[in-house]
């Protein structure tokens, strides 16, 4: 009987964790508000700790991304507001990669005029000078685009320009 009761409790706790994950994942990115932290794939795990609190593992995108602390606080605030005792734990390994951005997140980025990151194995090595991935224009889908600036308004973006529709656009750098 004891064992059955424990299993019931575990199921209950799993439901709670699933709820908390939904709440945490719905927190918007403070600099890219069209996507939430679930879309970015930066919530790596969550669990009950020994004291009954919930511990959420969050990984930063760039090592000095100014949004990191804001995201952690926003997750804690959102989950605490739902009545849970919560603690965010910053984890660095495995290192975040843009490959973890979800298909839904990629669609939202494109909708907002930001070209989503290409897969890591885009054929251009890290040290291939002057080689650039072929980034599709988020507005007209043309592949006839060029890089304007290797760095952009946030650590995660570069600036490109479409040579077909002539619009400039942000490219979410592959990391």
């Amino acid at each position: 009987m004891v064992a059955v009761r424990d299993i019931d409790q575990d199921f209950g706790r799993d439901d709670v964790l699933a709820d908390i994950r939904r709440i945490a994942e719905s927190v918007p990115d403070p600099e890219l508000v069209v996507v939430n932290v679930g879309d970015l794939g930066i919530i790596r795990d969550l669990r009950h700790d020994d004291g009954g609190a919930v511990e959420i593992d969050v990984t930063p995108t760039y090592s000095a991304c100014p949004a990191t602390l804001a995201i952690e606080l926003a997750i804690e605030t959102a989950v605490a507001a739902a009545g849970h005792d919560v603690r965010v734990r910053r984890v660095l390994a495995p290192a975040w990669t843009t490959d973890w951005i979800t298909p839904a997140g990629r669609a939202k980025l494109k909708q907002a005029g930001i070209a989503p990151p290409l897969p890591r194995d885009d054929g251009t090595g890290d040290h291939d000078y002057f080689a650039r991935p072929q980034v599709a224009c988020p507005r007209c889908d043309s592949l006839d685009t060029t890089e304007l600036s290797a760095f952009g308004a946030t650590a995660c973006k570069a600036q490109h320009r479409c040579l077909s529709c002539h619009e400039p656009f942000d490219y979410f750098k592959c990391l």
Binding site: Y62, S63, P66, R87, L92, D128, Y129, S149, A150
Partner: protein, 284 residues
């Protein structure tokens, strides 16, 4: 359970893998004292290299020759300062004296800094800044790559992120070395002048001392020969494309790792540390 004296057990790794610890908790004293001292020294060397170079790059903000580089230089500075923050935060925990990462950056005097002299050199012109950035990144990239297998989990975890960011720096600064070195007569002249000026400071990257030798043995630094080979290969390929002469590292100027710095560091610190010195304890 492996005992404390079991050579197979690495106290630093045990500690860093402890699921109960987070970024703010104190070390519990279990780490071997000598290993802790060496790890602390390493964190200050890497942290100070990144902080001082990051500050130099930030001086370009608003002054770069084009808007794209006004974005690039502070963006690279941000990556470097991210690494400095990790190093200082970890160093503070190892020291256990209640210091914060800001205390390391803003309340140490020049002789307490352990960066190599190249990173404190004044920016010079754009060619000078880009060549220095390239040399630093070409060295730091294989160093981070090696550190992804470091015996200290926290350092290894950070290396996994930094190695990807540093690869982007190699590409960006390397392309500028090529553009300018193989550009106009004036840009080529400036790139060669930058190489002449920075030449004496390159050797300090590869200097070893008792501390670095122990760090290699402890698995806290990669094999220096491996790092040097990767650096040489990146530099040779890039300099060839840039029409620059092959790099020869001869006798040079050093002393930064022992806290012997140039007068220029005093000027840099006077600006960087002004606010915390004049108005102690200010926070965001």
């Amino acid at each position: 359970m492996a005992g404390r004296d079991d050579p197979a057990r690495d106290p630093a790794r045990d500690l860093a893998r402890d699921p109960a610890r987070d970024l703010t908790c104190d070390l519990d004293g279990d780490i071997a004292d000598d290993l802790a001292d060496d790890l602390l020294a390493l964190l200050l060397r890497i942290g100070d290299d990144h902080l001082i170079l990051g500050h130099r790059l930030s001086e370009w903000c608003g002054h770069a020759p084009m808007l794209e580089e006004d974005l690039a230089l502070p963006n690279m500075a941000l990556d470097l300062i991210g690494t400095a923050r990790m190093c200082y935060g970890y160093a503070a925990e190892i020291e256990g004296g209640g210091r914060s990462e800001d205390d390391y950056a803003f309340l140490r005097d020049g002789t307490d800094f352990r960066h190599m002299l190249m990173v404190e050199r004044p920016n010079g012109d754009f060619a000078h800044t880009m060549l220095r950035q390239f040399l630093f990144a070409a060295w730091m990239h294989p160093l981070w790559d090696g550190l992804t297998g470091a015996s200290d989990a926290r350092l290894a975890d950070h290396a996994g992120k930094a190695v990807k960011e540093m690869a982007y720096h190699v590409r960006h600064s390397g392309e500028w070395v090529i553009r300018l070195g193989d550009g106009t007569a004036e840009s080529a002249r400036r790139m060669r002048a930058a190489l002449d000026d920075l030449g004496p400071y390159i050797g300090e990257m590869f200097e070893s001392d008792e501390t670095s030798a122990r760090l290699v043995v402890a698995g806290l630094l990669p094999d220096p020969a491996t790092v040097r080979a990767a650096f040489d290969s990146t530099v040779a390929r890039t300099f060839t494309m840039a029409q620059l002469p092959p790099l020869e590292i001869g006798a040079g100027i050093s002393g930064g790792r022992a806290g012997r710095h140039g007068e220029v560091l005093g000027h840099l610190l006077a600006e960087m540390q002004f606010l915390q010195r004049a108005y102690p304890g200010q926070t965001w």
